[in-house]
């Protein structure tokens, strides 16, 4: 098994899928010769040419809309939003068109396509290069939403997304791109969409997270075990829609306590959905309030490092929230 970082895993997934299926193409801003502003598509242009690895004008609406047209025609486009923050000009295409095409045509048209969404803060990107905007899309029926937290999941889920018959938005936390290397199974290993992964077993409380928060939650769980004797179970959701309720509910049934952690703001955030499902379906098993730890209620991540540090969740904050919940 090779040790790869997130970016390498994402690149390898696209490379393998383009090699395997000549209908797969990549389009976006600077994805060609430059290989993307983060380097995710590095080497693909040289290998597959400038039609299958297509530099577009600065037009996110066109990137999404043309990708849908190409998908209707029979291709398998991977559209890159340079930053998730810049997706809004494409909102109409994603929400009015891509998510609804299959339903509105009574199943006669489909948009099998992937939109890659580099998201998240902690990268000195301020309000417009740091957003965690997944909730706009998790509430849109017709889309599938993924947010991997490990290189192996990034590779396996991206391969699944490219092969999926439905439109998939693929959230990649920018801070994780080069944060660490981990083992990635060689060859054609696909991670199924819709399955959460128990990243660490525990019995005192459950921490539900995704993306970069997996790393933070695992570090917090180490601290909790070492300093408090609290065994936290860390459940990496990976797939936000479809959501693996079975794994979530089984964990709550075991621990009786649930902490949901995400970087996006709390009000109406994805944690509200998890909390509501647990409240409705596992009420009898709860031994404490379902708790959310989320980004603050400000319009974006402020720039100065003092301000950004204030904004960002961290292992220490997760430890504190988990201690409070464990003591309930």
């Amino acid at each position: 098994m090779a040790e790869l970082n997130m970016l390498e895993a994402i690149r390898l997934a696209m490379d393998e899928e383009m090699e395997r299926d000549d209908r797969v193409m990549v389009l976006g801003e600077d994805v060609g010769k430059k290989g993307g502003v983060f380097g995710a598509t590095e080497g693909l242009w040289a290998k597959y040419g400038d039609k299958r690895v297509l530099d577009t004008p600065l037009t996110e609406g066109m990137i999404a809309g043309a990708a849908m047209g190409a998908a209707v025609y029979g291709l398998r486009p991977i559209a890159e939003m340079q930053f998730a923050d810049f997706v809004y000009p494409a909102f109409n295409q994603i929400v009015s068109e891509i998510s609804r095409l299959h339903y509105r045509s009574n199943g006669t048209f489909s948009a099998p396509m992937v939109i890659r969404m580099p998201y998240g803060g902690g990268v000195h990107g301020a309000l417009y290069h740091s957003q965690s905007n997944e909730t706009y899309f998790t509430s849109t029926v017709g889309l599938k939403i993924l947010a991997p937290g490990t290189p192996a999941d990034a590779k396996g889920l991206l391969k699944a997304a490219i092969r999926d018959p439905d439109p998939v938005m693929f959230f990649e936390h920018k801070k994780t791109y080069r944060l660490f290397k981990a083992e990635v199974p060689e060859g054609d290993t696909v991670v199924p969409i819709g399955k959460a992964s128990v990243a660490r077993e525990g019995r005192h409380l459950s921490i539900f997270c995704y993306g970069f928060m997996r790393t933070c939650a695992l570090e917090a769980a180490e601290t909790l075990a070492r300093e408090d004797g609290v065994e936290a179970e860390v459940v990496d959701l990976r797939s936000l829609r479809p959501l693996d309720l079975d794994t979530i509910l089984a964990s709550v049934e075991k621990t009786g306590k649930a902490l949901v952690v995400h970087e996006a703001n709390r009000f109406g955030g994805f944690g509200a959905e998890i909390a509501a499902e647990i409240g409705e379906r596992a009420f009898e098993h709860l031994d404490g309030p379902v708790t959310r730890l989320a980004g603050p209620e400000v319009p974006g991540v402020p720039f100065h490092h003092t301000l950004e540090d204030w904004f960002m969740l961290s292992p220490a904050r997760i430890v504190q929230a988990a201690r409070d919940l464990a003591a309930y």
Binding site: R52, A67, G69, E97, H102, G107, G142, L243, E284
Partner: protein, 353 residues
């Protein structure tokens, strides 16, 4: 920008008498379906109608060079004659307007006027205007990436020409010389707002220069001029020379839709003279002058159409309505947990309440 002011004869364009009679018949058929649906709307059988009356000449003529089963179309809500020229039948159109369960466009899920049909390479249309133009460009991009000999046509109104997505689509198509034909059907009104309040400079076609493509203005009442422009655009696309923007100046004979009354914002004298610009009698006169159309042929075509419409209407009304139990199906390719169903999962256990 080029304009066509030389009167074109069909023989010079390589069209046979049968071709032009076929175009005439297609225009009459689209009109007859349109008129029938207004009657059905007034009778309470159809909830809403948004008409293509006055656009038929431009629509039939521009769609005529397109190859059925090979080329693609991304329509707009007035594209009734274009969609029929592409292969949709009178029964398909009426069935869709009745929102029947087996309607080819949406199975009764979409409002009337939202054309689409997978068997005909007509992409399903939504309601926000201009989105379809990017889909056309995406299909053209797909054909270009694959090296396929496929041309895509899309239609939109001059009101929609102001959407940002139109700029994005035309610019991208121009950059890569994609095989796509943009047809702007300029009827002078975006619901109630006239051209001079919508389009700076007064011309949509002139914008094409900025995208590196030809912009052609044609009289939408001149069927053969519309055909000539579309045929050249089609050949150009197939030669790999890129997109063309055709602005067809058409007339909107009806109110915007069945929910609108154009007498509130159009001058009475303008409304009174609309019929004089109707492309159907104009084309009939041209065909008569060319010795192609006679009273006998005209009557026979009209009788055929009447019978066909009656049969289509009857067949469409007899089709099954959709059923509510089916409404949560086909949200995703395969059902997913928590998606595509309103039925709650059972609580895991211990639910005594």
């Amino acid at each position: 920008m080029a304009t066509t002011d030389i009167k074109l004869r069909h023989g010079d364009l390589g069209l046979s008498d049968d071709d032009v009679l076929g175009m005439y018949r297609a225009m009459l058929m689209a009109r007859a379906v349109d008129e029938r649906m207004w009657l059905m709307q007034r009778a309470g059988k159809i909830a809403f109608i948004i008409s293509g009356q006055g656009h038929e000449g431009a629509q039939v003529a521009t769609a005529w060079p397109m190859r059925k089963g090979t080329d693609w179309m991304a329509p707009f809500y007035r594209s009734i004659a274009s969609a029929m020229t592409f292969g949709m039948s009178a029964e398909d159109i009426i069935t869709a307007h009745l929102a029947k369960g087996d309607d080819v466009s949406s199975g009764g899920r979409q409002m009337p006027g939202h054309y689409g049909g997978a068997p005909y390479n007509i992409v399903s249309l939504s309601s926000p205007v201009g989105t379809q133009v990017l889909h056309a460009v995406g299909i053209a991009m797909g054909a270009w990436v694959r090296g396929d000999d496929v041309v895509t046509m899309t239609q939109f109104g001059e009101g929609t020409s102001n959407q940002g997505e139109i700029h994005e689509a035309m610019n991208f198509a121009g950059v890569h010389k994609l095989p796509v034909i943009f047809v702007c059907e300029n009827n002078g009104y975006a619901i109630s707002v006239p051209l001079d309040r919508q389009v700076a400079g007064g011309s949509v076609a002139s914008r094409a220069a900025g995208y590196g493509m030809p912009g052609v203005v044609v009289d939408g009442g001149d069927v053969l001029a519309c055909y000539a422009a579309a045929r050249e655009a089609h050949e150009r696309a197939r030669r790999g020379e890129g997109p063309t923007l055709i602005e067809a100046r058409v007339v909107r004979l009806t109110s915007h839709s069945s929910d609108d009354d154009q007498r509130r914002y159009r001058d009475p004298s303008e409304v009174e003279h609309l019929k004089e610009q109707d492309p159907i009698p104009m084309f009939a006169a041209e065909l008569r002058a060319a010795g192609v159309l006679t009273d006998e042929i005209d009557e026979s075509i009209k009788a055929e159409i009447k019978a066909e419409i009656n049969a289509a209407n009857k067949a469409a009304e007899a089709r099954p309505d959709p059923v509510a139990a089916d409404a949560h199906e086909r949200v995703y390719a395969e059902p997913i947990p928590g998606g595509g169903t309103a039925v709650a999962l059972a609580p895991i256990e211990g639910g005594s309440h």
